[in-house]
Amino acid sequence: MGSHKVVIIGAGHNGLVAAFYLARAGFKPLVLEARPVVGGAATTEEFHPEFRASVLDGVSGPIAPAIAKDMQLERHGAQWLDPKCRVFAPSPDGRALILHSSTYRTLSRIAAFSRNDSSKYLELANILAGAQKFISGLLTMPPPEIDRPTSADIWNLLGAGRAFRKLGKRNMQRLLRWGPMAVADFVAEFFETELLRAVIAARGIFGAAAGPWSAGTTALLLLRVAAGGLPDGGPIYVRGGMGALSGAMAAAAKQAGAEIRTSAEVARILIKDGAVTGVALKSGEEISATAVVSAADPKRTFLKLIEPVHLAPSFLGQMQHYRCQGTVARILFALDGLPAFTALKNERDENAALTGRIHIGPEIDYLERAFDDSKYGNFSRAPFLEATIPSLLDPSLAPNGKHVMSVHMQYAPYKINACHPARPEERREPARASGERCEGPAVSSAASPSNWPSQRDALADAVIKTLAEYAPDFPSKIIAARVITPLDLEETYGLTGGHISHGELALDQLFTMRPLIGWARYSTPIRGLFLCGPGTHPGAGLTAASALNASRQIIKSLRK
């Protein structure tokens, strides 16, 4: 046993993590990466001379602790930097809600808005801490086989069941009720301060094509909580940016015995009699393998890399319906200095506040309206933003005294309209039933990713304008900006539909349904072909938890 030739497609976090565990298990995986660098979308790039930042970054993390430990990432050069704050949320009226790394200080900050909320925050934190064991239990187990539960499944479920019962009847019922709930309702059950509601609710819509009033968004909040254990996750910083983390992962994988080839784009997965035989590179080179593990998203894997003839029509149909259209744009700013946020003018240590996630989205309605725009194929005129300034903790990312700001922007729908409609309420007369909408043609026909090049600057303007409302001198600090639209995420980083999570995070595409019900256990209808990317359970964010689960399953079946 052991010396199977295993090919892994894609050297993003999940690909590298899978490579490490497979190598450690005695297989000699070969990782094939299309781009010249490893890391997928988690790379540090010099987007402007001497200014470096990650395309996907710490607001999407964190890496599952088990992985960091197993791979000894710190020994391989990953150095985590601790922000003093988790979140800084300015409000239009010039107040600041700051959630410190220390819960005690956080509580006093919240109390400044509402004593009641402060105690509720603690209550929620405790409930979630209790729930975390149960939820992370679910996240680290392979989704059970529905038709023929294996004995392992039964054990996992019993384990989850026990953890569930430990919560006590009241919290059990709460979790059952919360899951399908709209996160806007969820936060309203705890808090009265609108800004705090919005900050917490934002975790439920992050990266999703959903607004705070969309049902099921509480489940997403709980998913993220499981990673951090707190109602609000802080950003994750690695010295040298996310690319450095990817580098450490690659080093760990190599040391464990994996081989990594960059600039080696896989064009096809070769299949014979329903089983993989290898892959063909774009260069024409063919590499034979007994197992192929794809860290690419499910749609790319099944609809682009495989000849349709190898898959059942019903499977193909379902895969075509797998929802995978991103709503996120990223903007990297090179700044001449730190922007002065109005809300921080009386703050003793404003730099400390800026080390956290800078949350722009003061109200639930604000977030919902931002989502509304995207439903009709427009990017949000007043977007929801999560910004970080990694150069505060890691000066190596920018020249002396200068800074980089990396912004996660929602909503930027993959299919975008060519024109800039005003919102209904901004129009003189309300939209007419007779279809005379200022939008012109309906979304379905007009909206297309091909419109993005023409929308790129308008999007940047909207983001700058929004930030300027909270930091008036922000525009004057901008040296350069790089906008990464969903189209760029697709074309440059190979994310189908520009979806950073390899597929919509919605109730019908989670757990035993991710990516498809019946195929949630990392294996596929093709013998020897496996999935290990975030398009599989648990999938949320830049945690590489999918690859951790996947490699366990893959090792098992390869040893059979």
């Binding site: 059952l176 399908p180 049902a215 929802r323 019946g518």
Partner: protein
């Protein structure tokens, strides 16, 4: 010495009456107390304008459980369902979509819009039938509590799990999607014709404060399909004499079985002794005792208005306060001098005998929702129109007509102004919207009745005007309806039960809650 009964039922709506009928048939001495002068609750016929009988709130029937119709022998008590043939959707571009029960006709119509959709339509019908086969038993089942280790409950859960396993892969896939997706996303997978998707998705939002693109609406779509898919008899239809006739038929059956029914007898308070319900006190001060009290009104009225919340466990009260109503719909009932004339299909044709749906596009539906989300009624709402007088002349004077318009969205709380002040603006918005498709409408209106969520609360007694006694959202269904741990018609108070739409399986003229509650009540009474 106050009178005494085996059971007092609060509320003479269809569920209260069904509950009473079943208890009476089991030989119990039953008293139904209705606040209003007329029975039926939201299933009521009233002559608001002389000569015109409006089905004031609920206006079509379909979900009424067959076992209830059978057990209570309702046809003998005067229940007569008249078929409602098809759905007609006028379009702004002068075209229309008209689906009827005649399969071949509908197919030809669909082909006109899209051959592909015409093909998919049959397959879709088959699939939904499958799904309903699976879900139907749940409607007739007392929900198990997954958080308790009670063996009977676990057995039920296993039963459900086994049933799910036994489904074909394709069905599993569909069911999971129906339980979690949005109606629009679900239909997007099947059809390409916008107006078809919009009209079908409409049944996914009725009675909820959700948009056609909100996850969870696919289930409500299924909920409304239950009726449509069975044999012709239970396809959507009118009841002769208006929906009130259904309530009257059930009341008749209850009386025949020995139940006593009093109208204009509003309950002020549920009396308790030593943590047990002992009866009620009417607003008149009259006191009536009973072994059990069964409330068909919603939890807000039952536990927070008719009881002293301090007599209940805090956690329970907290959950009851948290239970979401969020009325989202209004009703405009019109007395017409003649029939409306639709630009896209002029003249009085069969298309007026079915449902007329103002749902020109999915975007139109979603925008109607957006406006309501921020506290304004939709200026261009989704409207479901029926003209019962075409099928049942008894509800209007000769040559004249009754037009019933169900309207969404109308939020219970308005951001600007209050409902009494803006009621007529709302009515105007509805009529203007319809007039864009049927310009003659404004000239043929003899009289109109506008019901906002506020009015539905005031007149019918439904909290926040929610027609289902609480939103049909995923977190308020099955074992979570109305309150987790209390989804089995019992309450923290001994001898006090719930039997209204706020309990599983929820709203619509279905009667299932009333029946299931009766079953549970009789179990407990027998046990004593």
């Amino acid at each position: 010495m106050p009178k005494s009964y085996d059971a007092i039922i609060i509320g003479g709506g269809h569920n209260g009456l069904v509950n009473a009928a079943y208890l009476a048939r089991a030989g119990k001495k039953v008293l139904v107390l209705e606040r209003r002068y007329v029975l039926g609750g939201a299933a009521v016929t009233e002559e608001i304008i002389p000569g015109f009988k409006f089905s004031v709130c609920s206006y079509v029937v379909s979900l009424l459980r067959p076992e209830i119709i059978r057990d209570l022998d309702l046809p003998r008590h005067g229940l007569e369902i008249l078929p409602l043939d098809g759905t007609f959707t006028p379009m702004p571009n002068g075209d229309h979509l008209w689906r009827v029960n005649d399969h071949a006709k509908t197919r030809r119509e669909l082909v006109r819009h899209s051959r592909r959709d015409a093909e998919a339509y049959d397959e879709f019908g088959k699939q939904m039938l499958q799904m309903c086969r699976f879900v139907k038993p749940l409607l007739g089942m007392v929900p198990p509590d997954p958080t308790s280790l009670n063996p009977a409950g676990l057995k039920k859960l296993m039963f459900l799990a086994k049933r799910f396993q036994s489904l074909a892969a394709e069905d599993k896939y569909n069911l999971v999607q129906l339980m979690t997706m949005s109606a629009a996303d679900f239909l997007d997978q099947w059809f390409e014709t916008d107006v078809l998707k919009a009209t079908m998705s409409a049944s996914g939002i009725i009675g909820t404060f959700l948009g056609v693109r909100s996850p969870g609406t696919a289930y409500v779509l299924l909920h409304h399909y239950m009726g449509e898919i069975d044999g012709a008899f239970r396809a959507w239809g009118f009841s002769r004499g208006g929906t009130g006739a259904i309530s009257n038929a059930i009341a008749d059956a209850a009386r025949e079985a020995g139940a006593e029914i009093r109208t204009e007898a509003p309950v002020a308070q549920i009396t308790m002794r030593a943590g047990r319900a002992t009866g009620v006190v009417l607003q008149s001060g009259e006191e009536i005792q009973a072994k059990i009290v069964s409330s068909s009104v919603d939890p807000n009225l039952t536990f927070l208005k008719m009881m002293d919340p301090r007599a209940l466990p805090d956690e329970f009260v907290e959950e009851v306060r948290r239970y979401k109503y969020r009325g989202s719909s209004g009703k405009v009932n019109l007395a017409l001098d003649a029939l409306p004339d639709f630009k896209c299909l002029p003249g009085p044709g069969r298309h007026l005998r079915g449902a007329i749906s103002i749902s020109p596009s999915v975007e139109y539906m979603e925008r109607a929702y957006d406006q309501a989300k921020y506290g304004e009624f939709s200026h261009h709402p989704y409207i479901d129109i029926v003209i019962p007088s075409l099928t049942d002349p008894s509800v209007a004077p000769p040559g004249k007509h009754v037009m019933s318009c169900f309207v969404q969205y109308a939020p219970y709380k308005l951001k600007n102004g209050d409902w009494p002040a803006r009621r007529e603006n709302f009515g105007d918005a509805v009529i203007n919207t319809i007039a864009e498709f049927a310009p003659n409408l404004k000239n043929i209106i003899i009289g109109r009745q506008v019901l906002t969520p506020y009015d539905i609360e005031e007149q019918i007694g439904l909290t926040e005007g929610n027609i289902f006694q609480g939103e049909l959202s995923l977190e308020q269904l099955f074992f979570l309806r109305p309150v987790a741990g209390w989804a089995r018609y019992r309450t923290p108070v001994d001898n006090l039960y719930m039997c209204g739409s706020a309990t599983h399986p929820g709203g619509g003229i279905m009667g299932a809650p009333g029946r299931l509650a009766a079953v549970e009540i009789l179990k407990d009474m027998g046990a004593r």
